[in-house]
Amino acid sequence: MKIGFYPGCSLTGSSREYNESILAISKKAGIELVEINDWNCCGATAAHNLTKELSVSLPARNLALAEKDGMEELVVPCAACYNRLVMTQHELNENGGLKALIADKLQMPLKNNIKILNVLQFLEKYFVPRFEELIKYPLAYDVACYYGCLLVRPNKIMKDERWEDPMSMDSIMQKLGANALDWSFKTECCGAGFSVSKPEIVGELSGKIVRNAVDRGAKAIVVACPMCHSNLDMRRPAIESYLKRNVDVPVIYITEAIALAMGITSKEAGINRHFVPVNLTVNR
């Protein structure tokens, strides 16, 4: 089976493990993810902070290319890219004038009706129904599922029926044999785009998140967003200096968790690339 795939820039760089793990599990499940031909950066925070038009035109180019490649569904693992793409699709459907202007600049047709899936929707649709056959080794840990902002907000557009206390990732982890803890910071902001420009703010915001997870007894924090991951994992020093204590709780991508449970090695899943060592094992 072939499904459209938009990795986004982070997955080619600082979040390679996310890319490697999603490709690894898809391969093993016999699902082929086809990259959009010649895709470009979605513009991320920078674009919509500085220029309205780029914040729409950059994602729009990818949507147009995906249509050109004849894709009906597009998997976007990076929550930030996912958010930008969905927002763009929404904008363009709301604002006819803008759509015309952009299509004109793209010089490509744009139906703007492609189905965009975030990683959770992708897993629910193509993996969860096949867990019986796919999951070999239960991942028996207490985990805190962290969704962040971009998968659930703005709820008027993202349409998660439980946006203040989402459950989709929790239920997937439960099915992997883990115990998804009820905690309070599932959708709090981690500091996102300030990773480089305002690390001290990231230290505080991410620090509060990590603290609540650890206090609830989490042995791992599960994420589905490269920004959340780099802030919680790579920015751990900033977090520890804010919390004034050491915390060694690992931060793993949901796709890595599934990889482990499917019997894929840490190396294949890129888990060795983390800053905070991942000490999770499945008993084989």
Binding site: W163, E164, D165, D182, S184, N212, D215
Partner: protein
């Protein structure tokens, strides 16, 4: 040849401000068949009516058009005036220049022209009006009151004390409603049950009141003066005559873990239960959903223990039909549940409760016997936070309205907390303090100044749990929007007052209108606050909109007074706008061909058949016949009649066609 008088009202400036009334009067004067036309500042005033009467006499008018406000407002007034001048009242029609013209358009020639068109239309109608005689219907001097809360109790007692029979229907096993759940009442802090229970007993003992608890309205037919109500008496599984209310059965019932409705889910009850000790009637009912016998087929412990053998498992719902002349709807309200607040935890935090639940905690008859203890672990909260406007004034939650009572009861709650928990700290997050009412503002001030409740102006964005505390993330908008975070032990949501579940269906059963939030609609926002659009049905209490006890009681007495006024007459003259099958000379007798399409269309089974016979008694023709007693005048039959043989007085085909033509030919 008709001689019609047209009387244009300025309604002070309400009409004349945007409509050139002189011009309208002048134009009306030129219409064919109009004998006289004039304009006056207040037509409904005494001098105004005098003008109409004089002109009817002087000019020998055959018809009158009063161009003023809505007929729903003053049609009776002017028809009465015409009758007094010796004209048949049904020869008087009103042209609605205020609600349908001057109030909804700006001053312009177009507006004046529209006014002229409306007048001309009604003039043409009146030309085809026939003198009619009002239909007299006897009044059944018995009232149906739906809902046994303080509103229904007050209305029932007032009507009963006026000497009329009342049937009070309550859906729960006991009367008392929300008021019986309350701890103490603002602004006097007197105990709610202490002032309510005597009234409940009075209801039970009143010779003029028949109390039907555990019962609901099934169907309502008929109209003012003679309604037929069908009541479903739900099976209590108890023989009330035999039951002494000793309560032995409730002690033996094995199902003891059912959340008690009376304690707003904070206490437990058994499957066979009396909702609360002061219940009226003080006899148990079996809740079938939770009864082991009804669910599993065995148990019957209650039956075995009952000393009088009053348990009746085979009892079934009973439908009773009653004739009443008037209905008072007093079905009350409900509050939003904590589960409806995503940002406050979807109800997953036990110690985030509603104001109604707090009432039970503060009530001496409550699960904690009046001690403020939090549901999760029974600890006494040292820090408590109250959120006003929880759901109210919140379009995003579908409730843009103000629930009106929350500001006061929140102040009361904080006050009670401070009185009961010494050294405790209480906070109230509010947007505005709405304490309009006698001694109300003084009350909220007292809470702030004397009881040292910390009022913080701002809404709360999120409540979450961190090491055993509820973290309340709020803001103080009066301190340059400073974020405020409180580590609370308990949080009380003054959650929005909402219409009762099922109120929509009930309104439909009674044919009364209701608003976008399913609260029952009054007939006029100012002048008919207790009437509904359906004559003979009145409103009392929070089923119309959230309101406090004093307001509810006043409205209930108002409704009762309306009923008493209605019952002060022996018969009622009903609008003669009813259907008639035409008659004509033999051999045709009537153009009716006897297809009886009308009968199938009639919602009231008001159309029967009539056999036309010759002298020898041989049937010549079968035609439709309308029973004037049953016909309500909807006119559906008219639209169904192929041969145009059935017509409806007051809205005849002739009248409607001439209206259409007049309306469109304005050149």
């Amino acid at each position: 040849m008709s001689k019609i008088g047209v009387f244009i009202c300025h309604c002070g400036e309400n009409i004349s401000a945007t409509v050139d009334v002189e011009k309208v009067a002048e134009a009306a004067g030129k219409l064919e068949g109009v004998e006289f036309s004039t304009d006056y500042k207040y037509m409904c005033s005494d001098p105004g009516q005098t003008i109409i009467k004089q002109m009817i006499k002087e000019k020998g008018l055959t018809g009158v058009v009063v161009a003023a406000c809505s007929p729903r407002m003053h049609e009776p007034t002017f028809r009465k005036a015409c009758a007094e001048a010796g004209m048949n009242q049904y020869m008087c029609e009103m042209a609605n220049l205020r609600e349908h013209c001057s109030w909804v358009h700006d001053k312009s020639d177009a507006t004046t022209q529209k006014a002229i068109d409306i007048v001309r239309t009604l003039v043409e109608k009146v030309k085809h009006n026939k003198p009619l005689q009002p239909i007299k219907v006897p009044i059944t001097k018995k009232a149906l009151v739906i809902g046994g809360g303080i509103a229904g109790i007050q209305a029932s007692l007032d009507i009963a004390n006026a000497g009329h029979q009342v049937i009070l229907v309550e859906k729960d096993p006991s009367i008392g409603g929300h008021m019986s759940q309350l701890s103490e009442t603002f602004p006097t802090l007197d105990c709610s049950q202490c002032i309510l229970t005597p009234r409940m007993v009075e209801v039970a003992q009143h010779p003029n009141i028949t109390l039907l608890t555990y019962a609901e309205l099934e169907k309502l037919e008929g109209s003012i003066g003679s309604f037929k109500a069908t009541i479903r008496k739900k099976a209590k599984s108890i023989d009330e005559k035999l039951c002494t209310g000793c309560g032995l059965c409730t002690t033996k019932c094995p199902n003891k873990k059912i959340p008690s409705e009376f304690n707003a889910g904070l206490g437990l009850r058994t499957a066979i239960y009396v909702p609360f000790p002061q219940a009226v009637p003080n006899k148990p009912v079996i809740d079938k959903e939770n009864c082991t016998y009804y669910q599993k087929g065995k148990c019957k412990l209650c039956e075995k223990t009952c000393p009088t053998g009053a348990i009746r498992f085979d009892q079934e719902d009973e439908l009773v039909e009653i004739q009443v002349g008037a209905v008072v709807a007093a079905t009350g309200f409900n509050v939003m549940k904590t589960s409806e607040f995503p940002e406050y935890g979807y109800g997953k935090y036990k110690d985030v409760i509603t104001g109604l639940q707090f009432e039970r905690l503060a009530s001496a008859s409550g699960p904690t016997l009046g001690e403020i203890r939090r549901p999760s672990d029974g600890k006494i909260p040292e820090k408590i936070v109250f959120l006003a406007c929880a759901g109210s004034r919140d379009p995003a939650k579908g409730k843009p309205y103000c629930s009106k009572i929350c500001c006061m009861y929140t102040a009361k709650h904080a006050m009670l907390y401070q009185h009961k928990v010494h050294g405790g700290q209480s906070y109230v997050f509010y947007m505005d303090i709405r304490a309009a009412g006698k001694n109300y503002d003084e009350f909220t001030r007292r809470a702030i100044v004397e009881d040292e409740v910390n009022y913080i102006r701002g809404r709360v964005s999120k409540i979450y749990e961190e090491n055993g505390k509820l973290i309340v993330k709020g803001v103080d908008t009066l301190l340059n929007a400073k974020p405020v975070e409180i580590e609370a032990d308990m949080v009380v949501l003054a959650s929005a007052g909402v219409a009762n579940p099922g109120s929509e269906e009930l309104a439909q059963k009674m044919h009364i209108s209701y608003d976008a939030y399913n609260f029952f609609a009054e007939a006029h926002p100012k002048l008919k606050p207790v009437e509904t659009n359906t004559a003979g049905i009145f409103l009392a209490g929070a089923c119309q909109a959230p309101k406090d006890i004093p307001e509810t009681v006043s409205q209930a007495s108002g409704a009762a007074a309306k009923v008493a006024i209605l019952f002060s007459q022996d018969e009622l003259s009903r609008d003669p706008a009813i259907a008639v099958v035409n008659r004509c000379a033999p051999p045709l007798f009537s153009t009716c061909v006897g297809c009886f399409m009308c009968a199938t269309a009639c919602p009231y089974q008001a159309i029967g058949e009539e056999l036309i016979t010759d002298r020898q008694g041989n049937v010549i023709k079968r035609v439709a016949k309308v029973n004037p007693g049953l016909c309500q005048g909807c006119g559906t039959c008219v639209a169904f009649c192929r041969s145009k043989s059935i017509d409806i007085d007051g809205y005849t085909n002739e009248q409607m066609y001439s209206e259409v033509m007049a309306l469109l030919n304005n050149d």
